[in-house]
Every structure is written in structure tokens, then in C-alpha cells.
């Protein structure tokens, strides 16, 4: 273990101890129930407000715990690293934040997440809580067909949590809040590349070997290899490849206003990420699109993986206004 270059005590305790640190760092925004392994907004439950709950494997920080707070999530339930949480956690989170107006579950499309959230939603219904589940599946690297588990939920998750969270804050009902999250998912697409693998703490070694000078193209967020391997290009070439993959699938209207989310996978410095973002905006503008909102940084990560993903959301006036609405979480904060 000493040879693993990670700041931890025991790999088995990594998620719990990280949550304990999150609670200490952001006690004004959130509280952590270590017994149930859930992160809950400090002032939950908010009576009369629709509550948002998300969750998934740990290892993608700041998602989801870093998005708990005003204008975003009411609760997050992290599983083990890269492993879906269990229905008990999701149910505990749902009952902890239900303010009587219903709860929206934001579920990334992975087999385990979908199954566990399905069981949890059934349990919540048994307790009389109205649950709307929204599935996020924005990754164009996966062909949605009978031959796969469907597209993965990646960057659009962050945007859906922000925009639906703002809708809940302004008083929308549970169906409307879920509707905003679904609209985000329909109007957003993502694509990612990796320059290195990542090291899950329990395994202690990289998931795959990537020789120098090569990159994995079409990666997800669990350290799984991508769709193919290519020679590592320049930032300009990579930006063009990301934009082509996303825009050819999204097919936005000519001159559409878009939100551009350049996401770091965890191991890529902001120096490079901003450089890439500049190239992406140039490429988008050359294609006649109008970047109107931006998010740049590591927000949905894959441990220490080096690499980046691009998410483009075709905006409308309502989505832009919801993006600008106040948010106060550990990872995103403006307008407050």
C-alpha cells in the first residue's frame, strides 16, 4: 500500500473518510450521515420544495456531494468507488429531504445505478413519497442500440442537477422539475478522451496501460477503456474531434446559443483545460454556434485520470435563466 501514491489511510475507508472531511469543510452547506453514507443539504428538508436526489459510485468528485446545497441537489448518496450505491442509501436520502412536494431522482444510465435506483423508488413509493426518476444518457461515444446498455450518463448530469435544482428552488412542481432535467438531457451531448488511466484505491494499480503518445477516445468516467486508441493529437486536433463528435450528434440549430462545459477528468491541470476550452470555443464559433454560457473545470471526474470531456447544451431562454440563478454548493457558487 505504501507504494500507492494516494493520500489515504486504508483503501476500505476511503469514501467514508472523504465524506467526513467534506462535512468538516462545508458544514455551513451540508451535513453528512456517515451511518447511512449520505450527504444532505444543511437545511433539509425544505417544506413545500421539490427535493433533488442523485447518487452513484464515488471517484467522480466533486459530483455528487459537491453539488449539494442551495439551487442544486438536496441529497447525494455515494457508493464505493465506481460502484452504485445501494437502495437503502437512496431511500434514506429520499426520506431525509422529502418536504412533501415529491422527490426527483437523477440517475446516470449505468446498469447498476439504474437497478438500485429502481428498487429505491419502489421502496419510497411504499412509504408514500412521490418519486420522479430522470435518466441521464448523453455520451455519444456509446451507440444507443439493442447491442449496448445504452448511452452513459456523463457531463449532462452536472448541468441537469444545476438547472433542475434552480427550477425546484423557484417553486416548480415535481413533474416540472423532472421535465427540466429531461429537457437538459435531450439537448445535451458529451464526448471524452483520456491521456492516462486511473487507479482505483481498492485495486491499487491502473485499470489499463496507455503507452506514451497515445490517447483513449470515447471514454466514460469509470476508468474503462474507450472505443478506440489513437495517436495523441494537439489540443487543437483534440478540440476538433470532441466538437465533431458532440455537434454531429446533437445537430443544434444554426446560430444556436450553447452552454459549453469543458470538463477535466481529474488529472489534467487547468492550464491545459483552459487552453483546450479556448480551442473548443473557436471550433464551435467557426461552426456558426454561439457560446453563451461556460463551465470549465474538473466537475465529473474519474479519480486521477488525465483527460477531458466536452458537453454542449443547446440553450433556450428558460434554461439560460435557470443557469444564471443562484447556486451555493461546495463546488459551484454564484449569485449568493
Amino acid at each position: 500500500m505504501a507504494s500507492m501514491r494516494k493520500l489515504l489511510n486504508d483503501p476500505e475507508d476511503v469514501v467514508r473518510e472523504s465524506l467526513a472531511g467534506l462535512a468538516v469543510a462545508h458544514g455551513d452547506i451540508l451535513k453528512v450521515d456517515l451511518e447511512q453514507q449520505i450527504v444532505v443539504r444543511a437545511d433539509a428538508p425544505r417544506q413545500g420544495k421539490v427535493a433533488l436526489v442523485s447518487g452513484g459510485g464515488a471517484g467522480h468528485e466533486p459530483m455528487h456531494g459537491g453539488f449539494v446545497g442551495l439551487g442544486m441537489l438536496d441529497a447525494a448518496c455515494p457508493g464505493a468507488v465506481f460502484t452504485s450505491p445501494v437502495p437503502d442509501q437512496m431511500l434514506a436520502a429520499t426520506t431525509a429531504v422529502d418536504g412533501g412536494a415529491g422527490v426527483v431522482h437523477i440517475v446516470k444510465n449505468y446498469t447498476g445505478d439504474v437497478m438500485n435506483f429502481k428498487l429505491a423508488a419502489e421502496d419510497a413509493a411504499d412509504e408514500g413519497i412521490e418519486v420522479e426518476s430522470v435518466l441521464i444518457d448523453d455520451d455519444v461515444a456509446v451507440q444507443d442500440s439493442l447491442y449496448t446498455a445504452g448511452r452513459r450518463g456523463v457531463g449532462a448530469t452536472v448541468l441537469a442537477e444545476k438547472l433542475a435544482g434552480a427550477a425546484a428552488e423557484r417553486g416548480d412542481d415535481v413533474v416540472a422539475v423532472a421535465g427540466i432535467a429531461r429537457r437538459v438531457n435531450e439537448r445535451a451531448r458529451s464526448f471524452g478522451i483520456a491521456l492516462s488511466s486511473c487507479i482505483p484505491p481498492a485495486a491499487g494499480k491502473p485499470i489499463f496501460d496507455l503507452p506514451e503518445g497515445e490517447m483513449e477516445v470515447g471514454i466514460g468516467i469509470h476508468g474503462e477503456p474507450g472505443r478506440r486508441r489513437e495517436p495523441l493529437g494537439t489540443a487543437r486536433e483534440i478540440a476538433a474531434e470532441l466538437v465533431e463528435a458532440v455537434i454531429s450528434d446533437l445537430a443544434p440549430a444554426d446560430g444556436a446559443e450553447v452552454l459549453v462545459f469543458t470538463n477535466g477528468m481529474g488529472g489534467t491541470p487547468l492550464l491545459e483545460l483552459y487552453l483546450l476550452h479556448g480551442e473548443i470555443e473557436r471550433e464551435l464559433t467557426e461552426r456558426g454556434l454561439r457560446p453563451a454560457r461556460r463551465l470549465v473545470g474538473p466537475f465529473i471526474t474519474s479519480l486521477e485520470m488525465a483527460g477531458a470531456s466536452l458537453t454542449v447544451l443547446e440553450l433556450d431562454d428558460e434554461l439560460a435563466a435557470l443557469w444564471d440563478a443562484p447556486v451555493h454548493t461546495a463546488a459551484l457558487r454564484w449569485g449568493t
Binding site: 459510485g57 457508493g79 464505493a80 468507488v81 465506481f82 460502484t83 452504485s84 450505491p85 445501494v86 437502495p87 437503502d88 449505468y110 446498469t111 447498476g112 437497478m115 438500485n116 428498487l119 461515444a141 456509446v142 451507440q143 439493442l146 447491442y147 449496448t148 446498455a149 452513459r152 482505483p200 481498492a202 485495486a203 485499470i207 489499463f208 466514460g220 469509470h222 476508468g223 474503462e224 477503456p225 472505443r227
Partner: protein, 208 residues
């Protein structure tokens, strides 16, 4: 007439998975995210603990407890899938006094149906279904033919092994491995591999 002890089955499965965790994790690293061995080890250890603390005599109810424990301890896809499998298996044998050949065949058929219902995988999708389906069929055929339970379980184990091997040339169509497309070809499915261990564990849980 011989029967399967649920406690002994789960203990043998837990030991086999823990002993083979490294291999399962390697298989999962090739086409998944490299945690299958650790997750299942954690889950089956919890099952053994839960069963040890239970006074419940009926094997069906012990299977339900095992399934519930997996659902609430494992997460991922394997937790709900094996949890559903054992819960359905337990319900299928209800309050039967022992898990004899016909009861075990009923239990495995119900387990398979539960897995297919939750995961909607079909044979050939490169999943645990590719091992569990032939194992279930082999056990049922052997029991119907009046073979001793030990022989029936051995037949089920061989069928599961062959089923797991058959996943190597397949392209995954379910679960995380499906994201790899053609790159999933040439690897044994980790869920099928762990299913072999769990079926084989039946052979170490037989009592007279």
C-alpha cells in the same frame, strides 16, 4: 435424500469468491471497471455474517435473507442481480423443509427468471445469464432423470463452466462491457465467471 445447506452453500461461495477475487477483478479490468472481485467478496462475507446471526430454519427464508443482504451491501449491478436471484430462489421454495433436488431446480429457475427480469439480458449477451442458464437447465434435467443430487450439481457446474467459456468470443450487449463494442471480444465475462464459483459451491454444501 440429500439436500443443500444454504449456510454451507453461501460459506463455500464466499470462500471461493474471496480466493478467486484477484482473477475476477482482472477479468473485470479487461472489460469493466475492475471491482467485481472486491464487491462480491464484500457482499458474500456480509451474507455469511447475516446467516450466522439468523435463527430461521427454512432454507427458502435463509435464501431470502441472503438476497436482501446482497441488495443492501453490494451496490453496482451484481448486488441487485444476485440479490434478486437469491430472493426469488427463496420465495420459489417457500417453506420447504429442505433444499433437495426438485426444490433446488425450482430455486435456480426462479433465480434465473429474476435475473432476466431485472437485467433483461438474454443468452448470448455476454453476462451471468450465459452461465446461469445452462447450469439451471443441466440441474433440472439431471434431477428429472433421477440422478443423485451430487451428480446433478456436478452437471450444473460443468454446464456453468462451459457457459462462462462460451462468453469469451462474444461481444457484450449488456452492462459496462457493452460500451467497449468489439473490444469486449476475447475476454471472459466476469459475471459469468463468478456465477461458476457460486454454482460450484453447491457441491460443497451437500448434506444427507
Amino acid at each position: 435424500m440429500s439436500a443443500v445447506s444454504v449456510n454451507a452453500w453461501m460459506e463455500a461461495a464466499s470462500a471461493a469468491i474471496a480466493a478467486d477475487a484477484e482473477r475476477l477483478t482482472q477479468l473485470d479490468s479487461a472489460i469493466g471497471d475492475g471491482d467485481h472481485g472486491t464487491n462480491l467478496t464484500r457482499g458474500f462475507r456480509a451474507v455469511v455474517e447475516a446467516l450466522a446471526g439468523s435463527e430461521e430454519p427454512a432454507p427458502g427464508r435463509r435464501l431470502i435473507l441472503a438476497g436482501k443482504t446482497l441488495v443492501s451491501k453490494v451496490g453496482g449491478a451484481s448486488g441487485p442481480l444476485w440479490g434478486m436471484a437469491l430472493r426469488r430462489a427463496g420465495r420459489a421454495v417457500a417453506d420447504a423443509e429442505s433444499l433437495d433436488g426438485p426444490a433446488l431446480a425450482d430455486a435456480l429457475e426462479a433465480a434465473l427468471a429474476g435475473v432476466v427480469e431485472l437485467g433483461s439480458a438474454e443468452p448470448g449477451d455476454k453476462t451471468m445469464v450465459d452461465a446461469l442458464t445452462p447450469a439451471t437447465q443441466a440441474l433440472r434435467a439431471a434431477v428429472d432423470a433421477g440422478q443423485p443430487l451430487a451428480d446433478a450439481v456436478a452437471a450444473a457446474t460443468s454446464a456453468a463452466e462451459e457457459g462462462a467459456r462460451s462468453t469469451v468470443p462474444l461481444q457484450a450487449r449488456k452492462g459496462r462491457a457493452s460500451y467497449l463494442g468489439e473490444r469486449s471480444i476475447g475476454h471472459e465475462d466476469p459475471g459469468a465467471a463468478s456465477t461458476v464459483l457460486i454454482i460450484a459451491a453447491l457441491g460443497r454444501a451437500l448434506e444427507e
